[in-house]
């Protein structure tokens, strides 16, 4: 027998024109994965990284030990935040298509991640999000109009026109500034968490990356530092199956689940149904409690699906089946929570329709308000001289002189 080395080139199960095929996704029935004690040793709970923690079953019933037993009010509030996120994304997507903002990224299909985790964390916990966590900013108090003004780079833009749309920040809400470079926030979150422990505080940090950027060195730095110092941090991998055009196998998802990436370092991993708000909430609370009690980091993989294009600059019909999302076995997180509430008797199609209309109207009103602070074509406009501010704590002489030169040559003020 002749043997030769041969490369494995990862290929997705379906490309445009093919039948969607999610046979590669390993699923566990809702309620079937045990919930261990907070203080369990990592080696005793490795099963959490290969199973799939699910609470909502296919009939939208809550099942098993991870059911957080949230009351109707809490669930309705969660649903409302997910709906608001989707309503904002819908509108901003259209607005970009009309050429009124330069760029946008929606979180369609992934709304449960930000809302469930936002709910499970405490206000003093620090979030280091990725660019698809807009729900976190909303949940933590950033107003719709301020999100929109950021996307418009107008006079009310929190970033003063310095960042691409969706690169928000909120000091008041403890949500970090989005970089635009991938995974850089992951080890920073670990440093933040280390500082919290050094100061003797019980705040924890949480960070999010996609399946694709787990390949970055920063991801591995974060895991190493978190494991070495047992930092109080939750490291989340949002596995939405696609990193622009490369599927999760290109980042190494074919051999083992992303949740298992930390096992070699002794970091427990939990693989969670990322479209199940109850499961995400519960797993996050487990990890947060563990971190707060000195149990160190947890890696959570949220299995979900990127319902839309990567961004407004992307065309997924070139690389994946058009109807792939409809076949995704974990469904739509918003629809699943809605149906769960309905079968509990705590919600109805009518109430849902009414709330959706209300939220769409809120978004529309916010858009009107946002435009008062300027659009890409209509003033008021940001003063370009502000571009020289905030480079340093105080403006050094060379920037002051460049600022004057710019104003002399290009006018202004």
């Amino acid at each position: 027998m002749i043997t030769k080395s041969r490369l494995h080139i990862p290929r997705p199960t379906a490309r445009p024109g093919d039948e969607p095929d999610f046979s590669y996704l390993e699923l566990s029935p809702a309620g079937s994965v045990d919930k261990p004690a907070i203080g369990s040793r990592t080696r005793d709970i490795e099963y959490l990284s290969s199973g799939l923690v699910r609470v909502l079953d296919d009939d939208f019933e809550a099942k098993g030990p991870w059911d957080p037993n949230l009351d109707a009010k809490q669930l309705q509030v969660a649903l409302r935040w997910m709906m608001l996120t989707r309503a904002l994304d819908d509108r901003m997507w259209q607005i970009q298509r009309q050429g009124r903002i330069s760029f946008y990224m929606q979180s369609l299909g992934e709304e449960a991640v930000s809302i469930a985790q936002g709910m499970a964390l405490r206000p003093g916990d620090m979030c280091f999000p990725s660019y698809r966590n807009q729900g976190l900013y909303l949940y933590r108090g950033v107003k719709l109009v301020d999100m929109m003004c950021q996307c418009l780079s107008n006079t009310r833009d929190m970033c003063k026109g310095r960042q691409l749309p969706v690169m928000y920040h909120s000091k008041a809400g403890n949500v970090f500034t989005i970089s635009g470079n991938l995974a850089t926030q992951f080890p920073q979150a670990v440093g933040w968490a280390m500082a919290s422990a050094i100061k003797g505080e019980d705040h924890i940090a949480a960070s999010w990356v996609g399946d694709g950027s787990t390949a970055e060195a920063d991801f591995h730095h974060a895991l190493t530092f978190a494991a070495v110092y047992q930092a109080p941090v939750i490291l989340n991998v949002v596995n939405n199956q696609w990193a622009i055009s490369t599927f999760q196998g290109t980042a190494g998802g074919q051999r083992r689940a992303f949740a298992a990436r930390g096992l070699g370092l002794g970091i427990p991993g939990i693989r969670v149904d990322g479209n199940d708000l109850l499961a995400i909430y519960s797993a996050t609370l487990w990890a947060a409690d563990r971190a707060r009690r000195g149990g160190g980091p947890t890696l959570i993989e949220l299995v979900t699906y990127r319902g839309g294009p990567h961004s407004t600059s992307d065309d997924p019909s070139k690389y994946r089946p058009k109807d792939e999302w409809e076949s995704f076995p974990l469904g739509d997180p918003l629809e699943r929570l809605k149906q769960h509430l309905i079968i509990r008797g705590d919600w109805s199609e009518e109430k849902h329709e009414k709330l959706w209309k209300q939220l769409v109207s809120d978004v529309q009103l916010a858009w009107k308000e946002a435009q008062k602070s300027g659009t890409m074509t209509e003033g008021p406009f940001l003063d370009p001289a502000t571009m020289f501010e905030d480079v340093y704590a105080e403006m050094p002489a060379n920037l002051e002189s460049q600022r004057r030169r710019m104003l002399e040559v290009l006018g202004g003020e």
Binding site: N181, G191, A205, D390, Y392
Partner: protein
């Protein structure tokens, strides 16, 4: 006042700041129990505990990222990168993150990290333990870049760096950790004991960032330099008998243009000397700036002496290093120019 070499002065700066400000923490490879491969943090862990002086895994990107996160959470981290040659795995965290947090969040977030790193050659370090990458960092808006040339400045500048709310990359010319070096490797080493700047106050003081210093007054020619080459420049002035004014830049960014330009306007001649490779080096920025500021007073083209545009070779260190012979030859030629 106490006699200190540069290592002791840097250690003292840490000590003073850790005593004064409980948010100051130190992290890096070998900095804790062992006290650093160059001993700059020796004794600090014993004094301040292992939660404030932290031995880090060998991951420069992780060290800088963790420091950024700590800084965002109210600490004032001093991160040591063991050799400047090892800083590149952390480059993205410095350039894309540390330098821009304040800007991209309109001042809401910032991280007052100081990154200390030994740089420069002349220690038989070969091409991975001898580099001078200051130009790469001076090119980046949002960080300050510093290189002291003596113990007194090292301590005062490091305290300023730690207190600064802006991130600072602090290069330590390791060839002169233990004593000034005039660029002649044949001479026996000298200690800082006989040097006036080896006299260092034991307590708190600062040398402000962004200020250059005239270290040797003169009338005929200005040598603008920093780090190890400050001492080579003084030796070259002595050897050639040319009445040189030697200026120690001390802070590459922000640059103290006035001190440099005043001198060049006075002397009419300017030689720039640094150890780093010349092409695209920091000297090019100095030359362009001084040419613009002093054009009508110049009596000769601005000259540059630097490392050759090759990697730093192990066996030919003294052919590579812009030492006394090369700098003296350079300024002699410049004096011949009409």
């Amino acid at each position: 006042m106490a006699q200190m070499n540069m290592i002791e002065a840097i250690r003292s700066a840490h000590d003073v700041m850790m005593e004064k400000d409980p948010t100051v923490v130190v992290l890096g490879e070998d900095v804790g129990y062992f006290g650093g491969v160059f001993r700059c943090t020796d004794g600090l862990q014993r004094k301040y505990g292992d939660h404030r002086v932290i031995d880090a895994p060998i991951a420069e990107g992780g060290i800088i990222a963790a420091a950024i996160g700590m800084g965002v959470n109210g600490l004032r981290p001093v991160a040591e990168i063991q050799f400047a040659d090892y800083i590149y795995p952390g480059f993205d965290q410095i350039v894309s993150e540390l330098a821009r947090l304040r800007y991209r969040s309109s001042g809401e977030f910032f991280s007052p990290v100081t990154i200390r790193t030994p740089s420069g050659g002349g220690i038989r370090g070969g091409q991975t333990h001898s580099q001078s990458p200051e130009a790469l960092f001076a090119h980046v808006s949002g960080i300050k870049v510093v290189m002291p040339s003596n113990p007194y400045d090292a301590k005062g500048l490091l305290i300023s760096a730690i207190e600064s709310d802006d991130p600072v990359v602090f290069f330590e010319p390791k060839r002169i950790y233990n004593g000034p070096f005039d660029g002649d490797p044949e001479k026996p080493g000298v200690s800082w004991a006989s040097h006036p700047k080896g006299e260092v106050p034991e307590g708190y003081y600062t040398v402000p960032l962004g200020s250059a210093e005239v270290v040797l007054p003169g009338e005929e020619l200005t040598i603008v330099t920093y780090g190890t080459l400050v001492h080579v420049a003084i030796a070259a002035a002595k050897e050639t008998g040319i009445d040189c004014e030697v200026i120690d830049v001390r802070t590459m960014s922000p640059l103290d243009v006035k001190t440099l330009a005043d001198s060049v306007k006075k002397t009419g001649r300017c030689m720039i000397a640094h150890e780093a490779t010349r092409f695209g080096g920091y000297g090019a920025e100095l030359a362009a700036t001084l040419q613009k500021e002093c054009f009508y007073q110049l009596e000769a083209p601005i000259g540059r002496v630097g490392g050759w545009d090759t990697p730093y070779p192990h066996a030919f260190e003294w052919q590579y290093f812009p030492g006394l012979k090369r700098l003296s030859a350079g300024i002699r030629r410049m004096m011949e120019a009409e």
